[in-house]
Each structure stands twice: as structure tokens, then as C-alpha cells.
Symmetry: D2
Subunit: 284 residues, 4 copies
């Protein structure tokens, strides 16, 4: 596998952005392998993802941030550069349902994601043996009303110790506190078992059953302080009918949840997502 | 085309319902062509749609209601019997957008629906020429704040005069009043341009754009007093991305709206829908 | 879980079939829980699946075949009666790819299928540890050109010994011989990684890539002597683009294969499928 | 609407292509509005679509081909430059079915496509009145076995006279001869009513019904000499069941055909398609 660099950048739109950025790469011996850009014509904002081969690049990876900084400043841009030889470090949070976490672990074994999974965190002991099968340490932090604050601090410290980049909530049945979000940042991916913004909150399948919808969905999104209101990464639906009981919705929805969450993690791990306000730009 | 009868019935579940009903038909010389049933096991309610050939049936259509009444009473059932040689009389309500009404008129010409369309009602003159192409009378009732009540009364009287069975709101941009609903009844089909219950109310595409969803939808439902809360008949979605502007959503959504509304009318016109509370049983 | 009986029957269409069959059940104290029927109006053939509660039924399960036989004979029908308290005994055949078999084992653990899996048969040792995790005996029969006949005989004898009802080919990379098919019968479900009849035979993803299709599919079907020509149970597709390499097709196709195969097994295990000629009637 | 230029280019892959091309635009005062590229890593071929604002561009449209030619030559590229203020001139070919042509005419009226439709050609008189509604000249060329050659020559001459860029076969039920294809070129879009390569040739719905597939499809493609083998632009499918007769397949398939053809024309008219061998690169 080639070592490549990926620049993700957004800035106010202006003339010559693609040219200036591609020149920056070309002049230093980089061959562009993928370039995708988007202009939000309402807000006049430019978004780009560009990936290039680092093999004959004249600047080492360690100096690249410094080298690009002047251009970033000139463009008044938000930007970051990622390298494909550095795998993302992902922590999985889970509770009792195994389908989402199993899906991710299985795909990880097949090397679908460029990630490492140094640890699993759960508030229940139920999925210990699954973690064992994949040889991943499983940390149990039971969350009671009065222990939430202290447990979240322990979790944060563990994430920091293991240099975790991204948290994936694989049907983790606890709402993370604002303190946790402030401490870890915005790289937390959740799966909600409805097509948001329909059926926010608890028991979406029961809500769907009561409302008599003819399709159910699942939504993966980044977590923000407002419940189920974070930027949406991926959504999908499946058709249901009057024959389906709540139990059937849960069964059919499981298939959606794991596929939608896996696709979101796939896109995230390949650095294909730019967040802008409440929305995502997904360069797939 | 054969003349067939269709019984739609719901009642508390009990032993022998299928047997008793199919015997009723068999003993009178009817051949069952389709039978579909459903039991809501939570609420213990039985639903059935059964269609039989009237050719050698010993009771004429005109006496059938009376003949079935004792059984309906014994089962404490809600029921009705329809005949396929009697086409449903449908009035289309429209405003300025032509896509939904055009879709229905075109399918009607292809004889996809067993319906007649004796008239079109609109609050705008814009679609007069489309109505002319299909030789359907086009009645304009401009609705201002102070004229709504009187216009609805005129509409109701026109519907009554033309013995209209069903009203289809083909992107009719007015909310019908409770008086109108009380006067006409529950056979009004609407198309809402979102996957309900997401984006209830006005400008759903704009709401969808702002929320950053990755799919948009359309929902056809029976109209009730609560806005966009009636029993859902059909829903579908289409995938969108960050590239799509509100204008693109409107364009892509048009395709959904007309297909979803047409499917709903198709199911309704073949007497395949039973409404139970806030939900539909769709025997398709 | 209630004990219920399921009658699957097909016969030349005639008057009174639903009535006679539902009476047979009603008169013996059975409560019909589900009834679905279909008439092929081209060929004038009647198909029915009816399920009833055995709790107060006056005939014991063991005598039911004998009791129904006169009616079956009168109707000149093909029929069988299944009982939901008798789980189907399923053997999985596999080679090296784990995704389909893993999907089935995981769903089986969640009790999605009313089946037992007494054994797994493979021509390779690779998936032994997966079988071990689920505590299912894993039998390896390496197939070389000259050993195929003898190995298939051993497999057949093993299937017979374990009273296997159904074989599921979960990406088993061997073509079963006519002798094997004759010996075991028509209860073998395969998953083919294309939307049949497109891309019959080997390497369908490579064929799809070369043809430049914009969607790829998967098809589950019953196995017959003609390769990939058996009655289709379930199919699904996923959208692809010019960006997708053969490797991407394989990755995306895996998700289809396991879902489509799982759905087919679900339908089969609930006795929802009637085979007629080259086609299936699926009462879902 | 802004006047923009669109460069479509393919060439052997090499370093600096994006940079050189974007510089060419930037240095002449062009602002890139969209850039999408793709590298076929098997064949080492580079594809790009780049669109820029011509408002402050220093070279007039009329001189642009000449100005870009040296770069094209250096890259050994196939390329062309289109301008969005020049609408594509499209001729529709049709026979008796109105659904595809009606769909295109209706969308055209809504200004969904940047095209003009100077004429419709048909081998039957049936759709004259539809053409009249949209005020488009309708030319009838009845095709008999012995008149095909002469009629195609007349058609070609009419297309030439009207400076037609693209022919759309909207369910035109004649196979065009190699002479016609040679005379007009490769800008002919067809709709085939199956998910190719399944059910090539005549009566695909009947073929689908006989095979017992669980989904039917439609495929839009460029026409080549080999029947139904041209580069695929767009495909879609719809789910069917054993309940659907051939007649139902035709009805359901109509919806697919018109949507898939309309999408193909939309992509083509916005110059989003590059053909490479038997495949398309679709920059959507």
C-alpha cells in the first residue's frame, strides 16, 4: 500500500483555489490520486479533499503541516492533513446488543477499514466473550445515576492513554454528558435506529410502529450536545408493512443499523467527511 | 373484465372467521379469486379482503349488503362490499404544480386505475389547459382568507352533485377546514413531500436541506384533522448528497411525489386499504 | 410459542378451494392465524399457505396427514403439512469465505430462524474456528477431481445420518453433481453473487466490472441440475459507479450476499415458499 | 444563468495533470466551479470533467479549442470543450408507447434539461397529438423491410439539416442499421427494459416473467452496433412478486423506463459522461 497524504480543507470561496492547491502538490513532486471539491453556492464556501502520493514528494510528512500553513492562512481556511499509513485509533462503546459491534469487528478483520481498535468500552459485561474472540481488551464501566460523572472521567482518561482518535457508539445505551463531549471532542459517531429527524429519542421502533410508517430507517451521525441532532453521515431505510410487529421492526432494523454504521465508519476512516455547521460534506 | 365483489371487513378476532366468510361465498356459488387477511395480535383484531367472481353468484349485487348483514352483525364487524364494475368517482384538487395531476391523468388514460375523474378543482387557473387536454371540467375556486368557508361549501356541493367518492389532493396548497372534512368524510388522499413524520408542515424540502439529511421522501396518507398525521398509505425515498441544493431536492422530490401518490391511488381504487385507527392495512 | 400447523398446497384451480380447506380446519377446532393464497391465472393453478393453532385441534399432529389426504386427493393437489414446533434441520456447506456462514450462525444465535444446525460441511479447513465458536461440528471433505464422487457419497450419508432437511450453500465453491442432487433432493439453497440471469457462472463480479453495469446484485435460489437456473427465492442489488474496482464490487457484494441468503433461509425455514416449475411463490 | 465552459478529457495518467489543467484555467482568469476526476488504476488512464466561469476569462469561447490544443496534444488526450450557453439539440425517436417521450417533453417544459428538441421522428403516426401539444414537429417515416435503408437516409438528412447533436430512442421499436450509426455517430441514447445484461433482445418482461426473477429493471445506454451491448449510463430496478403478471411487469416497468431514460438524458445534457471502451465514467 502506497503512503499517501490527504488534505481536507474548507474556506471562503475565491478564484484559483484548486489551481493553487494542486500546484502546491505538483511543485513538490506529488502526484494527485484523487481530488474532489464542492462549492456551497448559498454560503460561498469551498470544500476540497485531495489525496496524493508521498513517494517522490520533496517534503517529509513531519514537515507538511508547517509547509502548508501559509497557504491555509492566506485562504483563511480550516484544514488538516492525514496520512494513509497512520491508521485511525478507534474505541468502540457498546452495551448489550452485539450486532453493530460484531459487524465492525468482522469487517475490521477483513481489513475493510484502515483502523486499529485498541479497546472496547461497555457499561455491561455481556459482550466480553465477543471482545475476547477478537483479542481486544474490554473495559466495563457500569453507569449508575450517581456514578456517571466519575465513570466518564475514567473513560476519558483511558481514551487519552490509548491515543484514541475516534469513538464509535455501537448501540451504546447511555447519553454522553456535555463534559465528556467537551473533553473528547467532535469525533464521536453514533447510530440512531430511525431515519432522523423522525423519531428522535427513545424507542424509535415503537414510535414507528405506533405511527404506522411504511418504511423504517437508521441514521449515523456525529454526536453533539443536542440529542440526535448532530451532522448526519449516512442514512438508509427498509420497507415494512402492517404485518410487521415491533419485534419484526427490531429484527429488520438491526440489518440497517449495522450497515449504516459500518458505512459511516468506512467514510470517516478514509477521511472522506468534512463537517460544516450541522451538515456533512461526504466525498465518496 | 369480470364483475367481481370485494368484501373489506374488520372485527374482533375469533375462531372460524375465514371459514364462515368463505362459506358464505361458496354456498352462494361464488369463486374466491383473492383472499388476504391479517390479525393484529396486539389488539386481537381481524382484517380481511376477499374478492370473488359474481358471474354465477346466486345473489344479485343489489341484495348483497342485505344478505351479508347478519354475518357482519354477528361478528360485530365494520365492513363494506365493493364491485369492480362500478368505477370509483375521483375529484382531483390542485393548485399550480402540474406533476402530480399530470401523472394521474396520464395513468388514467392508460387505464391503470379503475376510476372516473368527473372534475378537477383548483384555487388557481394555471392548469386549465392540462385539464382541457384530457377533457375534464376544471373548476376554479380562488381561496382568500375570508372566502375559504364559502368556497369550501361550493366545492362540497359540487362534489355531492357529481357523486364523488374520493378526493385526491394532488399538491393542493390549501389546508382543508374541519368543516370540509366533516362534510366529505375520510376518503381524501394527500401527498406530503417528506418521509413523515419528519418535516411536518410547510417547506419540507427546505427543512430537509437545512437538516442535512442524506435522503428525502414522500408520503401519501388519508387526510385527518391533524395536519400530516393521517393514516399513511405509501412512502418512498431517494438518496441525496451535499451537492444537492434546495432546487435539486424539489426536482428529485417531484419524481417521488408523483409515484407515491399514484401508488396510493392505485391501492385505494382497487379497494386494497383498510384504515384502523391511525394506521392502514394495505393488502397489495 | 404456540404449536401451529402449516399447510402448503397447490392444485388445479376450481370453485370452493378456500372454503373447503378453511372448513376442514374450522370443523376440527383449528383457529386460522394466517392464510395467503394465489391463483396463477395463466396456468389456472391454485396455491395456498394456511397456518392454524393446534391447541384445540381435534386431530393430533401425527394423524393430520392421513386426515387431510382425502381432500388432497380430491383436489389432485401437491401438498405437505409442517409443524412449527419441529425445527428444520439445516446443514451449512462452505469453503473459505466466512461472510455468509457467519451471518447465518449469528442470526441463528439470535433465534431469527426456527432451525437447528447440526453440522457444517466444508472442502477446506479454514472456517473450523468459526464453527467452534458456535459449537457446531465441522466436517472437512477436500474435493479433488477424482475424489468428488466418493466425497459426495460421504456427505450424503452424513446428511442422512443427521436427518438433514435442508442444505444451505453459504458460498460453497463446488458444483454439486447430479448424483448428489438426486440423492438429497430439491431442498438445497444457493447464493449466487449476481442478479441472475445476468452473469451466470464463475467470477460474476469480474464480469460485472467488465460490462460496466451501474448496479450489482445477489440471488438466492434452489439448486437444480442446470447451473444458476434454479427457482429464484430472493434478489437484491446495490448501486456502484466507475470508481469501484473489482475489489470494491467484492466488498460491496458481500453485504448483499449475506442479506439475500439470510432472507431466503428465513422464508424457507418458516415454510413460506412453494416451488412451481422454475418459479417460486413466496408468501411473505 | 452564467456562461460556463466544461472540459471533458481523458489521457494516459501522469504526474501533474490536475495542476496543469487547473493552471491553464486560472492563468486565463477562469474560476473553477466544479472539478471531478477519476483514475482507472488498472489501465492507468486519467479522466477529468472541469467546469469554469467564462465571465472574466481572457480567451473567447470561439478561440478556446485552439488555445487548449497544445496541452491536449502534450497529454495525448481525447478531449472536448462544451459551453453551457449552447443548448444541446436533441431529436426524439419514438414508435407507439408514449411514456418515455411524454416524460422527456414534460421535464423539458420544466426546464430540467439544458436542451432543445427541434423534432420528433417516429415510424408510426400515433403520437402526433402529443407532439402537437408541445409544438414540436413530428416526422413520420414508416419502416418496412424494404424501405428501411431509404427511410434511414431521410432521417439522417433531417438530423443533419437540424444540426442534431443527440438522438434519444424513447422506446423506438426499430433496430438502427450500422449505416445509420456510422452516419450519425455515437451520440444515441437508448432505453432497454431490463437490467442489462439480463434479458437482451425482444420481450424482456416476458423473459423476466418466465424466469421468475424477483426484480425487474431498466437500462439506458449508448447505442453501438452490437444490440444492447453499448456503454451503460444508468440502471434501476423495482421489486416484483409472484402476484405480478406480464401485464403488471409492463406497467411497473414503465415507471422505471421513463425515470432511467430521463436521468441518462439529464447526465448527458450536462456533459457529465465520458465513454471509455464499453464503459462510462459518469461525473454526477
Amino acid at each position: 500500500m502506497k503512503k499517501t497524504a490527504i488534505l481536507l480543507l474548507s474556506c471562503p470561496d475565491r478564484n484559483g483555489l484548486v489551481s493553487r492547491i494542486s500546484n502546491f502538490i505538483f511543485e513538490r513532486g506529488g502526484n494527485i490520486m484523487n481530488l474532489d471539491e464542492h462549492v456551497d453556492s448559498d454560503e460561498k464556501i469551498f470544500f476540497i479533499r485531495v489525496e496524493w502520493d508521498m513517494n517522490n514528494f520533496s517534503i517529509p510528512a513531519s514537515d507538511l503541516d508547517e509547509a502548508f500553513a501559509p497557504l491555509g492562512k492566506e485562504f483563511n481556511a480550516s484544514w488538516r492533513i492525514e496520512f494513509t499509513d497512520k491508521k485511525l485509533r478507534v474505541a468502540l462503546f457498546t452495551s448489550k446488543y452485539d450486532h453493530c459491534i460484531q459487524e465492525i469487528l468482522w469487517r475490521q478483520k477483513l481489513e475493510e477499514f484502515p483502523i486499529e481498535i485498541p479497546l472496547i468500552i461497555s457499561n455491561h459485561p455481556d459482550l466480553q466473550s465477543l471482545a475476547d474472540q477478537y483479542n481486544i481488551p474490554y473495559h466495563i464501566f457500569p453507569v449508575m445515576n450517581d456514578s456517571k460523572k466519575i465513570q466518564e472521567e475514567r473513560e476519558l482518561s483511558l481514551l487519552k492513554k490509548h491515543k484514541i482518535d475516534t469513538v464509535v457508539l455501537a448501540r451504546y445505551m447511555q447519553v454522553l454528558s456535555p463534559d465528556f463531549l467537551a473533553g473528547f471532542g467532535d469525533r464521536i459517531i453514533n447510530i440512531h435506529h430511525s431515519f432522523l429527524p423522525a423519531f428522535i429519542g427513545g424507542n424509535p421502533y415503537k414510535q414507528a410502529y405506533k405511527r404506522g410508517v411504511k418504511l423504517i430507517g437508521a441514521t449515523s451521525h456525529y454526536v453533539t450536545e443536542e440529542l440526535d441532532e448532530g451532522p448526519i453521515i449516512n442514512q438508509d431505510i427498509i420497507r415494512i408493512s402492517h404485518k410487521d410487529t415491533t419485534r419484526d421492526l427490531i429484527r429488520k432494523g438491526r440489518d440497517l443499523e449495522r450497515l449504516v454504521l459500518a458505512r459511516a465508519l468506512h467514510l470517516h476512516s478514509e477521511h472522506r467527511i468534512l463537517v460544516h455547521g450541522k451538515k456533512t460534506i461526504v466525498f465518496d
